[in-house]
Structure formats: structure tokens, C-alpha cells
């Protein structure tokens, strides 16, 4: 069974739990004392990931770190339909890669702001918040135009991709970092759609959506 080195309040770990829940992949969560113990920065944990961060998965001896890389692996290995990671469709795959990189941006702004507020990280909070607003404006407009074309997801296929999973936690928890989503109504509607995906799972701070 997959082992997930996990912390319940981490958005990047939640991305993996969400993906495995949707793909119905059984896994074992190995709790890491991320806060306040900083266990992931300790010598023992660095034997698993020398970079000293989580999540890390151990799939029967195959070790992989970096949240968005793990999503690529999970979807490629455990989604027989090939739709979560659309490797067979060059255009859709390109879009997926592009929005995964965009999600690095939301993680480094919106989710970083959340770490400042919740866990006293020493980042420039105002810069994180302003950066998140810049990205959310772009994403909201993108999703608004997708809605006009009858498209529900971040990429232009008719099925969600790992890009939706990579972005969703950064967006839905943004208010914990003091980033209101009031100005991004299309982004708010997309969070409803993600929360209605079969197999959707919550984490603290995330609530299920009403039935559609």
C-alpha cells in the first residue's frame, strides 16, 4: 500500500489525499509532526527526503516527493481512463502542465499567506496576498470564459485534471491567509464543481458543497 508522509493541515498533503480518494486508491497516512515539531526538517526525515519537505509518497519502495509531481505519478499510474493526466492528448497535456506551473504560483502566494497567518511563517504576508490576488484575477477570468464555452474545469477538456486538484486547496483555503474571493465569482463557482466530484474528501477548513 502507498505510504503518504502526511500532515493534516498541509494543502500539499491534502492534494494527495484528495487525488487518492477520488481515484479510490488505498493508502496509509504516516503523520509527520510538521508543526510545532518541524519533524520534516530533522535528520531522520531527511533520509527520506533530503529537501526536508512533505508530502512524500512511498509506493512499495518507490519514493517520490513534490506535491505536483506526486499528482502526475498517481494519475498516470492509478487512473486507467487517462483523463486526470491526459498524456494521450498533446494540447490538453500542455494545458495541464501550464496550469500545474500556475499552481506553483498559487501555492507560493495564497498558501504561503496561510502559513504566515496560521503557523507564523516569516514570509512577506502583504506580498503573498497581493501575488495571490494577481493570480486569482487571471484564473477567474479564465474560468469565466470557460463557463461561457460550457467548460467546467481549468483545462479545456470535459473532465477535470490534476491541475484542478493542484489549484483547488490553494484557492479554497485562501481566506485563512486573508485573501477574500469575493471579487472572483467564477472561481467560487468552480470550487463548488470540484467539491461535487465523486470521491471528494474534505480537510479542516473545507466544507462539502450542497448537492448540485
Amino acid at each position: 500500500m502507498i505510504k503518504l508522509y502526511d500532515y493534516v493541515l498541509s494543502v500539499n498533503c491534502y492534494k494527495q489525499r484528495l487525488m487518492m480518494s477520488i481515484l479510490d486508491v488505498p493508502y496509509e497516512s504516516v503523520p509527520v509532526d510538521f508543526f510545532p515539531g518541524w519533524e520534516h526538517k530533522g535528520a531522520e526525515f531527511r533520509k527520506i527526503n533530503p529537501l526536508g519537505h512533505i508530502p512524500v509518497i512511498d509506493d512499495d519502495g518507490y519514493i517520490l516527493w513534490d506535491a505536483h509531481a506526486i499528482l502526475v505519478y498517481l494519475a498516470s499510474r492509478y487512473d486507467p481512463s487517462g483523463r486526470w493526466y491526459p498524456a494521450g492528448d498533446p494540447e490538453l497535456l500542455g494545458e495541464t502542465a501550464s496550469w500545474m506551473l500556475f499552481a506553483e504560483g498559487t501555492t507560493n502566494t495564497a498558501s504561503a499567506a496561510r502559513l504566515c497567518v496560521n503557523l507564523d511563517y516569516d514570509f512577506d504576508l502583504e506580498a503573498c496576498q497581493a501575488g495571490a490576488h494577481r493570480l486569482f484575477r487571471v484564473l477567474d477570468e479564465h474560468l469565466w470564459f470557460h463557463e461561457r464555452r460550457g467548460l467546467d474545469w481549468v483545462c479545456s477538456g470535459d473532465h477535470p485534471t490534476i491541475a484542478d486538484i493542484a489549484l483547488f486547496p490553494d484557492v479554497i483555503l485562501s481566506e485563512e491567509g486573508g485573501i477574500s474571493r469575493m471579487d472572483y465569482p467564477a472561481l467560487r463557482r468552480w470550487t463548488d464543481r470540484v467539491r461535487r466530484i465523486d470521491g471528494f474528501e474534505v480537510m479542516p477548513g473545507i466544507f462539502p458543497a450542497s448537492p448540485g
Binding site: E141, F145, R181, M182, P185, R188, F207, A209, S210
Partner: protein, 586 residues
């Protein structure tokens, strides 16, 4: 700025912001709003704050009929915003006064208009009346309305069909919160009205509407053209705003706890008919059963919960109680079912024969003495004949909340089941028991109540003999009294009013004597003690009083056997005293 913005209509959402089952997060003049469309297309505009702990309702969930707060699950009804259920108090009916602050809403030009205290109607724009208005993408701007309007006056765009051409612009109209522009090029012209929603002192939302809808194949290009142009405009507006000192944010006036909630209210005395309603529709819903839809003459009907009833004051002077059969969120009318009783003493026959569509009736506000718990593992609803009416409201609520239930309809035949279409819509949760003899009914009840398990609840409404059978068989099968909830149509007990006793009112410091032939309720009223009542025959539970001392002589059918034995509550309309003196908490 000339006009008072608080008395004006402003857009707070666009049509595409309020799809079904979504809650839009808006702000107007510093005040946050939760805006949501119910399945009946009513758009609710509420202050964005749960009355309980102040959590934003915009993170709540819209199930099409009610908005549920994410924090503790309080549910609020479509239209009235009244609270219908509090999960922490599953056995109680929330007070009708628990009601969110609502604002008016009107849909016009693809926008939802609202305001704090708007006067008159939303603005009428000639350019948008003529054609088919076409909504553009909204543009949130971090700048004041004044600055944004000033920039919009100089805004440029190309007309539909000529998007690549350099336009000739004319300013049609500039007002405090809107700018109308017309673009001409290559023989085409387009008019756009940009409404500016005042979000806060330094934030606004530009909602553009074109007077003409372009052909389907060109719409995306038109949207893109305007989005690109408005994005550029925003860069300029925000650059200028950033160079100026930021104004202080607006301080919204939040709803205060209303006086009627902060003070102990005067208890209403007697049977109140606070509402006037129009018989909007009357039809035969089953053999011998007339259905009525009662609509408000103005405004919104008070919130009801499943199990609630109203008093109907009939033209012939009689007062009768009828259950509200509506599902959750069906708040534009009260729907009743009235069976014509062969031995009618004037109630059901009056409704069947005299009352017609278009008549105005006086009714009480809804009262819920038959509340529905939503924390059961198993809920069994047993309906005998017209007794289906309160259970139908319950079944629809449980169905909407995706809580399992069984609705057993006992009736002479399928033609005798009232609101058969609604019953049908409840699908496989409904079991029909048709044409059973009294003894067959009892065996069926025995079968249905067999095997009590914890966290089960049984609700029954129907004729007296059926209720007696259910209560008896449920008790025999191990159901505790508190899990068996019943509502009688009427009290068939022969009332013994021959005793004489004293009633002492502990809080009022008043002692009165109840003589033979008079009820406690009557004597209290004679002495000026305000008491609410409804059926006045010991069936509905409205005139309940708490007993502090003395032994009541119960003659009602509202309380169950354990409650009778406990002796701490009394129905003042029929019950009396075994002891010489009864002390009530009044």
C-alpha cells in the same frame, strides 16, 4: 454624489453569478451580502451573517430550498430567511422570530438589483428596454466609484460586428453610478451601459450590459473584446487610485438584535388571526379532499417548519387548525388539505362549499407543536387518511436533506391519498396500505413498529383509533414514549368539567378559582392573563402551561402517557386539577 446611495437600487450580482445551488458572495456600500437563487427562481439577498455565531452565510450550502450555515447547520428558508431547524435542538421548533436580515431583489437586464432601503423600482434604461441585453464580464476595480465613472466616460470599445475597427465614441448619459456609451464604426453601432456597484469606499464592480445580443457565433469574440478593453481601463484606474490617499473603508450598519428578541415578548392572548391571505388556488386533490393554496396579500409569509399548523378563521366564524403540507423552500403560499367530514360541524363543509378561489381568509401565523427531529437513524411516518398532511411536509424535508425515511400511507384506495403527485415524487420511500380493515390495519401497524432500535423516531397522524393502535403497539414493541410523536385531529375524550379548584399563578402573584363549567384558560383570560390558544379542545398543545405544584387532571390528547405521569405540564383549555390547588408558572 447627489443622491443618497442607501436609498438607491444597485446591482449586486449578474445572472450568471447566481446559478442554482450556489451562494454568491457580494458586498454593497460596505455591507457583505449572501445572494442565492432557490429552485423556484426567487433570488434571496441576505446580510452575510448567520444569526447564531456570525459566520458568513456565503460559505453555506444552498440546497435549492434552504440555506444551511456551515458552522452549526442552522437552516434558513427561501424568501422569509426564517430559521427552520437547529441541529443542536433536534426536538424543538425554532422560534419564528429567528430570521435573517433580507433585502429586496429584482432581476432586470440580466442583473440582480438590491439595496439597503431602495425607493421605487430599479432604474429603467431605454437603450436596454428595446433589444435583448447582453451581459459582459464583470470587472472588480480597486478604486472609488467616482474615479471609475470618470474613467468610464472616456472608455473606448468597438461595436458588435466591427470589433477590429477604430470606433467613434459618444457619451449618451453619465450618472452617479452608471455611464452609457455608444460606439460607431463601419456602419455598425453598439450601446453599452456600465453600471458601477459601490462595493466599498475604494472598491467597485463594473457591470457592463450591451443593448444588443450578438449572434451566437460572435458572442465569445465580443466578450473577449470588452474584457480586454476593460482590463486595460482598470490598469489606468487602479494606477490613479494608488497615487491617491485611500479613503477610509465604509462601516456597515449591521443588524442589531431586534427588540422583540431582546425582551420577553407579551404572550398573545386568544386566537390571533394576524395574517390575511388570498385563496390563490383550490382544487380536489383526492376523493373528498379539497386542497388550498393560500398566498400572501403582500410581502412574504412567515416561516413554517415541517409539522406546523395554522388556524384558519372561517367566514362562518369558526376557527379550525390545518397542517401546512409544503416542502422546504415552498414559501410563496401555504398549501392545506381539508377533508370533508361527513359529520362536519361547519368547518370542513364551509371550506369545501363556501370558500372559493379569490376569497380572502384570516389565518394565524404558523405554530409548530409537532416538530421533526433530523438526528434519527430511522424515521417512520405513519399517515392515516388525511393525517398525511403534516407528514407530507416532514417527508419532503427529510427527502431534501437526503435523510432516509419511510412514509406509510393508510387509505381506503389510491384515489383517497391527498397530494398524490407529491407523494409519488417521494419515490420508493413511500409504502401505500390500501383498503385495509381495522383489524388488518392493526396487524400492519404491529409489523411496522416491530423491532425498536435506539435513535428511531415514529411520527403518526390520523384518526383516533389508528393513533391509539400505534401508541399501544409501539409501546408493546419497546418504543419509549419520547420516540413516538403523534398529532390528533381532535380530542374525543368526554371532558369532565365538574370540579372546583384554585389556580395560583406564581409569576403573576394571582390566585383564581376555576368553577365547574369553566376552563382554566377562560378563567385566566377573565382575569386579564394573556394566553395563546388554538384548537381549545386539548389536541394542539398551544395553551400549554408549566405546573410547579399540584396534581393535574389531564384530559388532553397532546401530551403522551409519560408526560401525563410527569405532571409538569398542563393543557389549560381542557385539563383541570386533582388537587385542590394547582400552581402554574405564569
Amino acid at each position: 454624489m447627489t443622491a443618497d446611495p442607501f436609498t438607491m437600487w444597485h446591482p449586486v450580482a449578474s445572472e450568471h453569478d447566481v446559478p442554482y445551488r450556489h451562494v454568491h458572495h457580494a458586498q454593497l456600500l460596505g455591507l457583505e451580502l449572501a445572494v442565492w437563487r432557490a429552485d423556484d427562481d426567487f433570488v434571496n439577498v441576505w446580510e452575510n451573517r448567520c444569526l447564531h455565531r456570525g459566520v458568513r452565510l456565503s460559505i453555506g450550502s444552498n440546497d435549492g430550498t434552504e440555506l444551511r450555515c456551515q458552522y452549526h447547520g442552522w437552516r434558513y428558508a427561501n424568501r422569509s430567511a426564517g430559521c427552520t431547524y437547529i441541529p443542536a435542538h433536534p426536538a424543538d421548533a425554532p422560534a419564528r422570530t429567528i430570521c435573517n436580515r433580507t433585502f429586496p431583489s429584482v432581476e432586470r437586464y440580466g442583473l440582480v438589483w438590491s439595496g439597503e432601503e431602495p425607493v421605487g423600482d430599479p432604474p429603467t434604461i431605454d437603450a436596454l428596454e428595446a433589444g435583448a441585453p447582453f451581459g459582459l464580464r464583470n470587472l472588480p476595480v480597486n478604486a472609488s466609484v467616482e474615479l471609475t465613472v470618470r474613467h468610464l466616460e472616456a472608455h473606448r470599445f468597438s461595436p458588435n460586428g466591427q470589433l477590429d475597427e477604430e470606433p467613434e465614441m459618444s457619451v449618451d448619459r453619465v450618472e452617479d453610478y452608471s455611464v452609457a456609451l455608444t460606439a460607431r464604426a463601419g456602419g455598425s453601432q453598439s450601446t453599452a451601459v456600465f453600471f458601477v456597484q459601490p462595493v466599498d469606499s475604494a472598491r467597485c464592480m463594473v457591470r457592463g450590459v450591451l443593448s444588443e445580443t450578438p449572434p451566437a457565433g460572435e458572442q465569445l469574440a465580443v466578450w473577449r473584446h470588452h474584457a480586454t478593453g476593460l482590463n486595460q481601463l482598470r490598469v489606468a484606474i487602479e494606477a490613479e487610485a494608488a497615487s491617491q490617499p485611500a479613503p477610509e473603508p465604509m462601516v456597515p450598519v449591521l443588524q442589531q438584535v431586534p427588540v422583540h428578541l431582546a425582551e420577553i415578548p407579551d404572550a398573545p392572548s386568544g386566537r390571533q388571526a394576524a395574517l390575511r391571505v388570498l385563496v390563490h388556488r383550490k382544487w380536489e386533490t383526492a376523493d373528498g379532499v379539497a386542497a388550498f393554496e393560500l398566498a400572501p396579500l403582500e410581502g412574504v409569509l412567515p416561516t413554517f417548519q415541517p409539522g406546523a399548523h395554522i388556524d384558519v378563521h372561517l367566514p362562518n366564524g369558526l376557527v379550525r387548525q390545518y397542517s401546512i403540507t409544503n416542502g422546504p423552500g415552498e414559501t410563496s403560499y401555504y398549501r392545506l388539505g381539508v377533508k370533508l367530514e361527513p359529520e362536519s360541524t361547519g368547518g370542513s363543509s364551509c371550506l369545501h362549499e363556501t370558500v372559493r378561489e379569490g376569497d380572502v381568509l384570516a389565518i394565524s401565523e404558523p405554530r409548530n407543536n409537532f416538530p421533526l427531529r433530523r438526528d434519527s437513524n430511522r424515521t417512520i411516518l405513519l399517515a392515516g387518511g388525511i393525517g398525511i398532511t403534516p407528514l407530507l411536509a416532514m417527508a419532503q424535508s427529510l427527502d431534501r436533506m437526503r435523510l432516509g425515511f419511510e412514509l406509510h400511507c393508510f387509505a381506503q384506495s389510491a384515489e383517497h391519498i391527498a397530494f398524490a403527485d407529491v407523494v409519488e415524487g417521494l419515490g420508493p420511500s413511500v409504502v401505500r396500505h390500501l383498503g385495509l380493515s381495522p383489524s388488518e390495519t392493526v396487524s400492519e401497524i404491529q409489523r411496522l413498529v416491530a423491532g425498536y432500535e435506539n435513535y428511531s423516531n415514529l411520527y403518526v397522524c390520523g384518526p383516533g383509533p389508528m393513533l391509539e393502535a400505534v401508541r399501544r403497539e409501539a409501546a408493546a414493541a419497546g418504543w419509549p414514549d419520547e420516540a413516538v410523536h403523534f398529532e390528533y385531529f381532535k380530542n374525543t375524550t368526554e371532558i369532565d368539567d365538574s370540579s372546583t379548584f384554585e389556580v395560583a399563578l406564581a409569576r403573576s402573584a394571582l390566585t383564581v378559582t376555576v368553577p365547574p363549567g369553566a376552563t382554566i384558560l377562560e378563567v385566566l383570560r377573565e382575569h386579564g392573563v394573556a394566553m395563546p390558544s388554538s384548537c381549545e379542545q386539548g389536541a394542539c398543545g398551544t395553551c400549554v402551561a408549566t405546573v410547579l405544584d399540584g396534581e393535574p387532571h389531564h384530559q388532553d390528547v397532546y401530551l403522551n402517557d409519560s408526560e401525563h405521569r410527569a405532571g409538569d405540564r398542563i393543557m389549560t383549555c381542557v385539563s383541570r386539577s386533582v388537587s385542590d390547588r394547582l400552581v402554574l408558572d405564569l
